[in-house]
């Protein structure tokens, strides 16, 4: 598998030449990089060439099959004579060469376009009035611009049963398919599961999976957006709406820490589908299936619509006034004897105000946002160092690396967008990948599929593996031979302790020795009991290859990094500044279990389900004298609360998330909150006002400006600068 790379010349594989050539398109003289695709040169110059199968992010080896982008091409010889190529050529695969003369709008080309469209439509069912794609369909658009008004085809069309279920999410209509192979190329080039293929031949060609298995991919939703017709449709969106009936709002995915830019397509207060939003530096134009299909909770009927108060063991709906009065009374009575746990899915604004409320008004320092087992106390300098930095590289820079080491992570699952970047680096940029893990996954795509070396060690031997790797790297570097031939004396027998042979370790070390490397470490490292030693080993590896700083230990929830930045940690204030210590999650739960914590506020978190020590979480939550939970639905924790405050989803509020790479991105409000629910930050702001806060906040912008003023690293972030692609928060230099 690891040797499988592109078998046809790739523009993106060979970076565009710095040499410029002069070409003429429709009489317009252009100077473009040598070898650039003519279609890209034309589109950049604003000259329209219609296409279906071409896609800038997919390999061109299997493109040029729709024949829509045919252009007339002539070449100029050095002596000035012009020679016309006898056949029209596909612009999507034609590399620009000096003196090329291209015509895109001749009578002949217009006839060819008509011809291709006629061919595409003879077997197309023309069921646009009921098709999901109708209104945003390239086939429709191109037919209107370039096609003939009537078909001359009087024979019977090809027929297939409708709605073939490729997977639980993706439904295939083979009658609408135009066999452009975009979806099959996506699974080959981008996601790597290589599950979709073209079956049969000639006019019987159809998209399908081998042996009719389910299209089991973590990125399957993208093919729906890639499909230039309505052949691939989403199970959840199918027949729900027409595109022109939908409103669209920009948003940020809340399903992991990668911070994918998405579009929420909604009608009234119902999100009907999620599409990717272009951000070249984050997700390009992809989403993972969790992001694409996982936002149904926004419009769930289970959403809480008003505050719930426990009376005689049962929840009763109350007004916000009653809820605030009760909560304010309880907090006043508790004094400093209260605490808060915020989850990694709450916005920066909510968390910022929450810690302000507790620290400044209530005088309590019992704040935490961590539910994972974390080996380091928040006051440890290494904790600050490794978590505040999070990722040493930006996501977009991962593809520039020569060697990428992924350790202790099912990357496709933990960090799907990072996975796509790593795969892109390997497939299109020639990077080598070293995979270190204690297991191989059964997922349809994984780093191990394309890694040059897979070091699968015995569970528990991480420290030894990294030490071995350090030694091997030192040996390789001192011998100054980065070749992959191991010295003869190395034995190929797996060692008992780690399960790895010296040979494999040497191969990995010689890859690491070759150039600038980057390391991506996953949960198995960040939650390891000997995290400090592992961290030291990884930094040593980087130091010996002059790649200091390229250590990436991404966080896992969409705003984990933001909540920590905002100071939701015991002993660590906004921007990781030192402040008075307090209790962490475990201590709070313990104190609560012992009846020593009067009020516990859980915001956007579910310790009963997600805390690593479930037994403690249940005891702490159930024994808490007064538990207040702000949540979207009645979670396991909320069910045990004394007061439940209805919060809002990403679609109903403005707010910011800080992604794992430190990019602060804005959520835009799509529609009004359901029922009387309120954004978390507003709940906290109103309660703070009741409790006598001096600074009052009325809008999201007020809070963001306050963050900008008070949180180190967020100075540049304010409503005017954040834009819709986000900007990076800064990490203050060491100290």
């Amino acid at each position: 598998m690891s040797d499988r790379s592109l078998t046809q010349t790739e523009v993106s594989l060979n970076p565009l030449s710095s040499e410029r050539v002069n070409i003429t398109i429709d009489g317009i003289s252009l100077s473009v990089p040598k070898g650039e695709n003519v279609i890209e040169a034309a589109l950049n110059a604003g000259i329209d060439i219609p296409y279906f199968c071409y896609h800038p992010r997919l390999s061109k080896g299997d493109a040029a099959n729709c024949r829509m982008c045919l252009v007339e091409v002539a070449s100029t010889a050095p002596d000035g004579s012009v020679r016309k190529m006898p056949k029209p050529q596909t612009a999507c695969t034609l590399p620009a060469a000096e003196g090329m003369i291209i015509d895109t709008n001749t009578e002949k080309i217009n006839k060819d376009r008509k011809g291709v469209l006629e061919f595409l439509l003879i077997n197309h069912p023309l069921d646009c009035p009921v098709c999901d794609r109708g209104g945003e369909c390239p086939l429709q658009n191109n037919t209107l611009y370039y096609g003939a008004s009537a078909s001359r085809f009087t024979e019977e069309k090809r027929h297939y049963p409708k709605a073939y279920p490729l997977s639980a999410q993706v439904v295939l209509d083979r009658e609408r398919c135009i066999q452009c192979a975009r979806c099959t190329r996506f699974t080959d080039d981008i996601s790597g599961d290589a599950q979709l293929g073209l079956l049969k031949r000639g006019s019987d060609v159809e998209v399908g999976t081998f042996a009719h298995t389910s299209f089991n991919s973590k990125f399957s939703g993208n093919v729906i957006e890639l499909c230039p017709v309505g052949a691939l449709t989403s199970r959840t969106y199918r027949f729900k709406s027409r595109p022109w009936d939908l409103m669209t709002q920009k948003s940020i995915c809340s399903k992991c820490s990668n911070g994918c830019n998405i579009k929420l397509d909604y009608r009234m207060d119902e999100v009907l589908r999620v599409n990717a939003r272009l951000n070249e530096d984050v997700n390009e134009e992809w989403t993972c299936d969790r992001g694409k299909f996982g936002h149904d909770y926004i419009s769930s009927p289970d959403r809480l619509k008003s505050p719930l108060m426990r009376k005689d063991g049962k929840f009763v709906e109350v007004s916000w006034h009653q809820a605030y009065s009760l909560l304010a009374d309880k907090l006043r009575a508790a004094g400093t004897n209260c605490g808060a746990i915020a989850g990694g899915r709450t916005t920066n604004e909510s968390v910022y105000l929450l810690q302000k409320l507790f620290r400044e008004i209530l005088g309590s320092n019992n704040l935490d946002c961590r539910l994972d087992s974390n080996p380091l106390p928040a006051s440890d300098p290494l904790f600050k160092k490794s978590l505040q930095t999070g990722m040493g590289n930006k996501i977009a820079d991962l593809e520039k690396m020569k060697t990428i080491m992924v350790i202790g992570s099912d990357l496709q699952d933990e960090q799907p967008i990072l996975f796509l970047r790593v795969r892109k680096a390997w497939r299109f940029k020639g990077a080598k990948v070293v995979y270190v893990s204690d297991h191989l996954t059964t997922d349809s795509t994984a780093v191990s599929d394309f890694a040059s070396v897979n070091l699968i060690y015995q569970p528990g031997s991480e420290i030894t593996v990294l030490k071995d790797l350090e030694n091997a790297l030192a040996r390789v570097l001192s011998a100054n031979t980065a070749d992959s031939e191991p010295p003869a004396q190395l034995n190929t027998q797996p060692s008992e302790a780690t399960g790895l042979s010296n040979n494999d370790i040497h191969l990995a070390a010689s890859l690491l020795a070759k150039g600038e490397i980057t390391i991506i470490a996953g949960k198995s490292v960040s939650q390891h009991s000997q995290y400090v030693e592992l961290y030291q080993s990884l930094t040593n590896l980087l130091a010996s290859t002059n790649s200091e700083g390229n250590l990436n230990i991404p966080v896992h929830e969409c705003n984990s990094l933001g909540t920590m930045d905002m100071g939701m940690l015991p002993g660590s204030g906004p921007g990781f500044t030192k402040c008075a210590g307090g209790m962490g999650t475990a201590e709070m739960l313990q104190a609560s279990a012992d009846g020593n914590l009067q009020v516990l506020w859980v915001m956007g978190a579910d310790p009963v389900q997600n805390f690593h020590n479930n037994e403690l979480a249940v005891r702490g939550i159930e024994n808490c004298p007064f538990l207040v939970v702000s949540e979207l639905t009645l979670t396991e924790t909320a069910k045990r609360a004394d007061l439940v405050l209805p919060a809002v989803s990403i679609a109903e509020q403005e707010g910011t998330f800080t992604s794992c790479e430190g990019r602060v991105q804005k959520l835009f409000k799509a529609f009004e909150p359901v029922g009387s629910s309120k954004p978390d930050w507003l709940i906290v702001a109103e309660l703070s006002a009741i409790l006598g806060a001096k600074n009052l906040y009325f809008t999201f912008n007020d809070v963001l400006q306050s963050i900008s003023k008070e949180v180190p690293g967020y100075e540049k972030i304010n409503p005017g600068t954040i834009g819709d692609q986000g900007i990076f928060r800064t990490v203050p230099a060491a100290g």
């Binding site: 078998t7 046809q8 010349t9 061109k60 080896g61 299997d62 040029a64 099959n65 729709c66 024949r67 829509m68 045919l70 006898p86 056949k87 029209p88 050529q89 596909t90 695969t93 034609l94 590399p95 060469a97 006839k111 060819d112 011809g115 291709v116 006629e118 061919f119 595409l120 003879i122 077997n123 001359r152 085809f153 009087t154 024979e155 090809r158 297939y160 049963p161 409708k162 709605a163 073939y164 279920p165 439904v171 083979r174 135009i178 066999q179 192979a181 293929g197 073209l198 079956l199 049969k200 031949r201 000639g202 006019s203 019987d204 060609v205 159809e206 399908g208 009719h212």
Partner: protein, 443 residues
């Protein structure tokens, strides 16, 4: 100008497939001779001979041979296209079946000339017998030291592997053949100028030489004798001989090796003339080329230029003769059915167009033709020809355009009278290729 057995010189010698008999008849002399030659000398000899590719396109062979990098730094490959699928052509079958050592010689020489160490013979899956014969011959050549390491003490290595196709016409197209050989779907690949030439980046992105069986056989003959001697035969631009596979309504079908430039009618007479009637039409170069009327046949000489000048092609030499009891419309219907079935489905014009062409022709030939159908056929052909990804689309369109040009009245007759102008009303049943394999559960 007549029959000229150069490649077929020893075809009928008893046991010629055996290497001992072959050597006794001067076999492997060329290889022994070439062992002492510089690679460039071999290429120059091919250049002198004026040999052009015998697979159909007639591209000058030496240019390909000269195009590969001249060193052993990276692997090069020699590919032999034995995926002989063109309807009407069966010359490679006889060459491999009767005189396999000639092909092996040719490939060894190509290996020497292009600094290649590995050769692949891509044989169509149906050619089981020839493949066995070639297997035996290769084993014998290994045993005698003509293949393997350090051939004849020259220090050069060459290995030949056989790869059986899986039954696709498309895989005879050189780029699709390379896809298939690499284990990919047998789809054509991008060609120059969209991608480098095979001689720069072919199979596995390595420099690759790909030629037809007959071309390698001719090259072996040329090196054994000399390029000059080969160039003595044929016309000014078409040198040497061509093997014509004669079939159809003739008395003696079979492979005839003729000198280039032999008049078409002479070949017809050699084959014993038209059987059961008078001459109605000839397809001179395989089913993809334009059909010729008798009066055109009189003017054609069998070489690249004369065929081209008369609006047809010499192609791969699939010489098909039809007597006056042939219904041209039904002939075209069957031809278009073949191309519909063999289209790989990659590009729009070929995938959709071949099916449409067949549907129209099938409709005409079952008595449902409509006025304007002929114009529609011509228009559909013009939308396929030159617009498809590879040559298969062109090959599907040419014969129909040619047939309409030569026998327009028969199409009109069918449409007007709903029956055959020949009187033969039998129409073979339609075999629809559509049989969906996906599980047909609707939701």
């Amino acid at each position: 100008m007549a029959i000229l057995n150069l490649l077929f010189e020893h075809r009928d010698v008893e046991g010629i497939g055996n290497i001992d008999v072959w050597e006794a008849n001067g076999g492997y002399e060329g290889v022994r001779k070439a062992a002492a030659l510089e690679p460039q000398v071999i290429v120059d000899e091919i250049k002198t001979s004026g040999l052009r590719g015998r697979g159909g396109a007639g591209f000058p062979t030496w240019i390909k041979w000269n195009g590969l990098p001249k060193n052993y730094d990276a692997p090069h490959y020699v590919l032999c296209n034995a995926d002989e699928g063109e309807p009407g052509t069966f010359k490679d079958r006889e060459l491999i079946l009767k005189i396999p050592h000639l092909l092996i010689e040719g490939m060894i020489l190509a290996g020497f000339a292009t600094y290649s160490k590995v050769g692949y013979v891509y044989i169509r899956g149906e050619y089981v017998e020839p493949a066995w014969q070639l297997r035996k011959a290769i084993d014998q050549a290994y045993a005698k030291g003509y293949l393997g390491k350090n051939i004849l003490g020259t220090g050069r290595d060459f290995d030949i592997y056989i790869h059986m196709g899986a039954g696709s016409y498309e895989c005879g197209e050189e780029s699709a053949l390379m896809s298939s050989l690499m284990g990919e779907r047998g789809n054509p690949r991008l060609k120059f100028p969209h991608a480098p030439l095979p001689t720069v980046a072919g199979v596995w992105q390595a420099p690759t030489l790909i030629n037809n069986v007959e071309t390698y056989c001719a090259a072996a003959w040329i090196i054994k004798h000399s390029g000059e001697e080969y160039a003595k035969y044929g016309t000014e631009k078409s040198k040497g001989t061509k093997i014509m596979s004669v079939s159809g309504h003739v008395a003696r079908t079979g492979n005839y090796e003729i000198e280039m430039g032999t008049p078409l009618m002479e070949l017809l007479n050699m084959a014993g003339g038209v059987k059961d009637g008078v001459l109605k039409a000839v397809i001179p170069g395989g089913s993809s080329v334009q059909i010729m009327r008798p009066e055109q046949c009189e003017k054609i000489n069998l070489d690249y230029e004369s065929c081209g000048a008369n609006g047809t092609l010499l192609g791969s030499g699939g010489f098909m003769v039809f007597n006056d009891k042939t219904d041209i419309v039904q002939l075209m219907r069957r031809t278009s059915q073949f191309y519909m079935h063999e289209s790989c489905g990659k590009c729009t014009p070929c995938r959709e167009g071949t099916r449409w062409l067949f549907k129209i022709l099938d409709r005409i030939a079952s008595g449902n033709g409509q006025k304007g159908d002929v114009e529609l056929l011509l228009d559909v052909c013009s939308q396929i020809d030159g617009r498809s990804y590879c040559g298969l689309g062109d090959a599907a369109a040419w014969p129909i355009v040619g047939a309409i040009k030569a026998f327009r009245s028969e199409f009109d007759y069918w449409i007007e009278h709903k029956r055959s102008p020949i009187g033969n009303t039998f129409v073979p049943p339609v075999v629809e290729a559509v049989n969906p394999v996906l599980a047909l559960t609707s939701v």
